[in-house]
Amino acid sequence: MTTNEDYPLKKVCIICAKGSIEDVYASLIMANGAVMEGIETKVFFTFFGLDAITKKQMKKLHTGTIGNPAMRMPGGLPFPTILGMLPGVEAGVSAMMKKQMADLDIPPVDEFLEMITAGGGEIYACKLAAEMFKLKKKDFSDEVSDIITVGDFYAMCNGQGTQIIFT
């Protein structure tokens, strides 16, 4: 039996498994956007996504300049992959991305995490990935609530009107 009842989104559980600028920001913007709308928000960082919440790495995120067909030169011409291999190009492109985001008032990663938790959102690190990369609670941003298992995370994703988003 189907019903047409409309359930508003009440909770989002966002998983960030990659550590490039665009992957991390996709998760952070979706998470902060949910918090701003009054939607309960949990973000789970795993594998290379852990870079975004690791104190040592969070300010040094890069965007990959190789193997990304959507990459363009300023002006719109295709970005030759061979150019992306040159030393310093990835750093330059990453700095440019960060500058463009800053111009739109998009905060750096550490401040973004603070914004999310200030609004009641929760940030978690994946236990298995943390063990794999030999990271402890002290290595993570203070905004990280806890290091949890996949099972713990799923247990938080209960309730009607909850969606899991894998970015």
């Binding site: 913007i29 902060n32 956007g33 701003m36 009054g38 008032d105 603070e114 914004m115 200030a118």
Partner: protein, 103 residues
């Protein structure tokens, strides 16, 4: 466009309850709009409202981050003053258009 009488004045509002014309806003109107959102308005609320109205008048983009850097409230306090969806609630009470920012 709908008409609504709040605090003894008739104003135009859109379908989401935002004022069509920000110049029709008064402090009394703000207090009434706050009540509808379940908020007991305080001086602190009005300080934030002033900041928001100024920013919108200048045509600047309104973000939560900008309010957090206003020196009036930090982001946590902003969420406490306007619980739930602070930017949407605060703009509605301030009589300005609904913000189009994603951050």
């Amino acid at each position: 466009m709908a008409q609504k009488t709040i605090a003894n004045v008739t104003v135009s509002i859109n379908e989401e309850g935002y004022l069509e014309n920000m110049s029709e806003w008064t402090k009394e109107l703000g207090s009434e709009l706050a009540k509808e959102e379940g908020i007991d308005i305080t001086d602190k609320h009005f300080e934030v409202i002033d900041f928001i109205r100024n920013k919108v008048e200048k045509g600047e983009t309104l973000t939560i981050r900008a309010v957090g850097k206003s020196g009036i409230v930090n982001i946590k306090e902003f969420y406490q003053l306007f619980p739930g969806a602070p930017l949407k609630k605060a703009t509605k009470i301030s009589g300005v258009p609904k913000p189009t920012s994603c951050i």
